[in-house]
């Protein structure tokens, strides 16, 4: 099993955000996590990636049989966990390419691999640019600076392609994308899918799942996964909305 989340609980400041999440992800699988706003979807991604302001209050996360929560954020990345951000930040003056080279070599150093030669790095860059249809001009610009929303999201997928992680979490990658950009991003992900890696796709709408077809769909509500199913669950949610999911939880908690 690649990822095993057991009864994960976390809070921000004094607010309990995750109240016992359980989830198992195997290599080769794509899981979608859906749910209404404020249900804890992005928080789950942040907790897994190790964002500082989230405090884990209970539970366990095994990543490739290692205790993920013991690792620093950078070591989680080096172990092969990738988060495609909902709001990628801009870093002025740092070129995209220089940033990627640093990232790639840091990850390689962690695995005792030698620094990638320039020629090899450039070959890899070109190959992946093509694969995810990423504009070569953007590669040499400052990291996300002045990028449109769509370009930022595509840059996330380009980075994903370059770093080749075991587990990728896409945090509402579809938000703010028009249909063409959505298709390009989804195509990129589909090309990168293999039996060695896995994806967790966090989304509010089922639209993205027309393009990235998930093996499993989970509904996160009020800090817990309240329902799991296959693709059909997403279609059902699209049709009925989230209200029918909310009810049983609310009544159960009374």
């Amino acid at each position: 099993m690649l990822l095993n989340i057991k009864n994960l609980q976390a809070k921000v400041e004094d607010k309990q955000i995750l109240k016992g999440v359980n989830l198992q992800v195997n290599a080769g699988e794509v899981h979608a996590i859906m749910g209404p706003n404020g249900s804890g979807k992005s928080s789950l991604a942040s907790v897994l990636a190790g964002r500082e302001n989230f405090e884990v209050t209970g539970g366990k996360v095994l990543f490739d049989d290692k205790d993920l929560l013991e690792f620093s954020p950078e070591d989680r990345a080096r172990e092969g966990l990738f988060l495609a951000f909902q709001y990628p930040v801009e870093i002025p003056g740092v070129s995209n390419i220089n940033f990627l080279r640093t990232a790639l070599n840091e990850i390689r150093a962690y695995h005792n691999q030698p620094t990638l030669e320039s020629k090899e790095f450039l070959r890899l860059t070109r190959e992946n640019q093509k694969l995810v249809e990423f504009d070569a001009k953007l590669t040499n610009r400052s990291l996300n600076e002045g990028f449109s929303g769509g370009e930022k999201k595509r840059n996330e997928i380009f980075q994903l392609a370059m770093l080749n992680p075991k587990l990728s979490i896409l945090d509402e990658t579809d938000s703010g994308l028009d249909i063409d950009a959505l298709r390009i991003v989804a195509n990129g992900v589909n090309k990168l899918r293999s039996d060695k890696n896995a994806f967790i796709v966090i989304t509010h709408y089922q639209r993205l799942l027309d393009y990235i077809v998930p093996d499993f769909v989970h509904v996160l509500y009020d800090g817990r996964i309240v329902k799991s199913g296959t693709r059909e669950l997403a279609l059902e949610l699209e049709e009925k909305g989230y209200d029918w999911i909310k009810e049983p939880v609310t009544s159960a908690s009374i």
Partner: protein, 482 residues
């Protein structure tokens, strides 16, 4: 969450100063204190001509009359001028004919600092003048430069060999009465570099001076004089370090640049004097007067500075744009962390017609550092169509530091165009986390962000030094997340 940030901040701001070692070498040191006698002593030690002694004495009398400035954005510490020794030289040093005569201990010191003095080993294309406390110990590549008619030597040597040039230009840009520290320098300056580039010559290599303060309780008062004759070009770089000491040491240098018609001078500084410890004990007071004049038409002077050291940095490299169509540039990165203070910027005096100036200042404050940009753009009545562009950016790391901007504009000509832009930003936790999430640790993340921020200025440095400066920025600023 705040606690974790503080820890990181703590860790990085306690980063050791790398160049804090002391060289044990026999020194000849003047008794502490400043009087006419001291000046006679220095002048005699250096076997100077009468005119120079007289000029020093004028400087001394200006110093006695001068008052401390009062406009700076920090509390001026009381400097005990009588507690300083104004001359210190390695004993064996009287004069070195060749590098072989230099004390091996001294050569080792410069090697340790990454400044090899033997010409075979030196960075290709860079000639170095090394100044240790009060004297210049070696100047490399002299012969090669001589073939082009270029004079690159210590100023003491120039006084002996080219007195007419020194006498003509010394004090012509920064007069002995300019300000209290310039007056002090005029009275007691020990050594420094002298450069003369003849008409039409493009200096084939970077010229570089490396300053090192070693002896306790001494000040360093070097004087640099660069003259680029008509149509010539020179790029010059200075670097500086000092050992760790508990008490403060004074560094009051003067740099004068003279660019004649169609000449260009590019002056770069990578300043890394000892900044003092975490509590603010010790460190160098870096009170320096730097000024250039574009004498003739189309002359160009460009200052680039990377200031990471010193307890207090206080200087405004300036350009007097006298010739028509002349231009002045100022590119600066100033870093303050711990309890460091920097009050730095530039002055651009537009006198000639169509004169241009460009100011790019990037301040970086971390820890409890205080960083001020202070700049003056002055346009005179004759300066038709003068143009200035100023951009001052401040980057804050943590919440205990400060950034301040004091731009002054005085225009007496309605055809002038003056633009000013300013920004303040913080290194965000989001930026750090983003880089962490890509496998880059916090130390490297901050180095990336800071170097990206300072890129526009670093790009102005000669290649080898840009790499050094980048490393220096990374070392002095690692982390400091807020």
């Amino acid at each position: 969450m705040a606690n974790k940030s503080d820890d990181i901040l703590e860790e990085y701001s306690s980063k050791e100063y790398e160049y804090g070692f002391v060289t044990n070498i026999e020194m000849e040191i003047a008794p502490k204190g400043l009087s006419e006698e001291t000046i006679h002593y220095i002048s005699a030690k250096k076997q100077e001509p009468q005119w120079l002694l007289d000029w020093r004495l004028k400087g001394y009398h200006s110093f006695l009359k001068a008052e401390d400035p009062h406009w700076q954005n920090f509390d001026l510490p009381k400097v005990d001028f009588q507690g300083i020794s104004y001359y210190a030289a390695p004993k064996s040093s009287a004069k070195f004919k060749s590098i072989d005569e230099v004390d091996p201990e001294l050569i080792a010191t410069f090697e340790k600092l990454g400044i090899p003095l033997s010409e075979q080993k030196i960075l290709a294309g860079v000639a170095v003048d090394a100044v240790f406390d009060s004297v210049s110990v070696a100047t490399t590549f002299k012969a090669t430069l001589k073939e082009h008619g270029i004079i690159f030597s210590s100023i003491s040597e120039a006084v002996k060999e080219h007195p007419e040039l020194v006498q003509k230009y010394l004090g012509s840009v920064v007069p002995h009465s300019d300000n209290i520290y310039a007056s002090l320098n005029s009275a007691v300056f020990s050594d420094g570099s002298f450069v003369y580039i003849p008409k039409g010559v493009r200096c084939p290599m970077e010229l570089s001076t490396y300053f090192r303060i070693n002896t306790e309780n001494t000040g360093q008062f070097e004087r640099t004089l660069i003259i680029a004759d008509e149509g010539s070009y020179v790029s010059y770089l200075e670097g500086c370090t000092a050992p760790k000491r508990d008490e403060n040491q004074l560094h009051a240098a003067v740099v004068e640049l003279i660019a004649m018609e169609n000449a260009e001078i590019k002056y770069s500084t990578v300043q890394n004097w000892y900044p003092g410890d975490k509590e603010g004990n010790g460190g160098i007071y870096n009170f320096v007067t730097k000024r250039g004049v574009c004498r003739g038409a189309n002359a160009k002077i460009s200052w680039t500075q990377v200031e990471t050291g010193s307890a207090i940095t206080w200087k405004y490299p300036s350009v007097i744009l006298q010739g028509d169509n002349s231009s002045g540039e100022f590119y600066s990165v100033a870093v303050t962390k711990g309890k460091q203070i920097a009050d730095t910027g530039t002055k651009m005096h537009h006198i000639g017609k169509n004169t241009k100036s460009r100011i790019i200042s990037k301040g970086i404050s971390a820890g409890e550092g205080q960083n001020s940009y202070r700049g003056l753009v002055q346009v005179g009545t004759r300066a038709d169509n003068a143009r200035n562009f100023t951009q001052c950016d401040s980057l804050l790391i943590g919440d205990r530091c400060g950034a301040h901007t004091f731009p002054y504009i005085e225009s007496k000509n309605s055809t002038a165009t003056i633009e000013h832009e300013a920004t303040t930003s913080k290194i965000g936790e989001d930026q750090i986390f983003y880089l962490n999430q890509r496998g880059i640790d916090t130390e490297k993340a901050v180095a990336l962000i800071v170097n990206g921020y300072a890129k526009e200025v670093l790009n102005q440095l000669p290649m080898e030094f840009a790499v050094e400066a980048q490393k220096l920025l990374s070392i002095s600023l690692e982390g400091s997340v807020g």
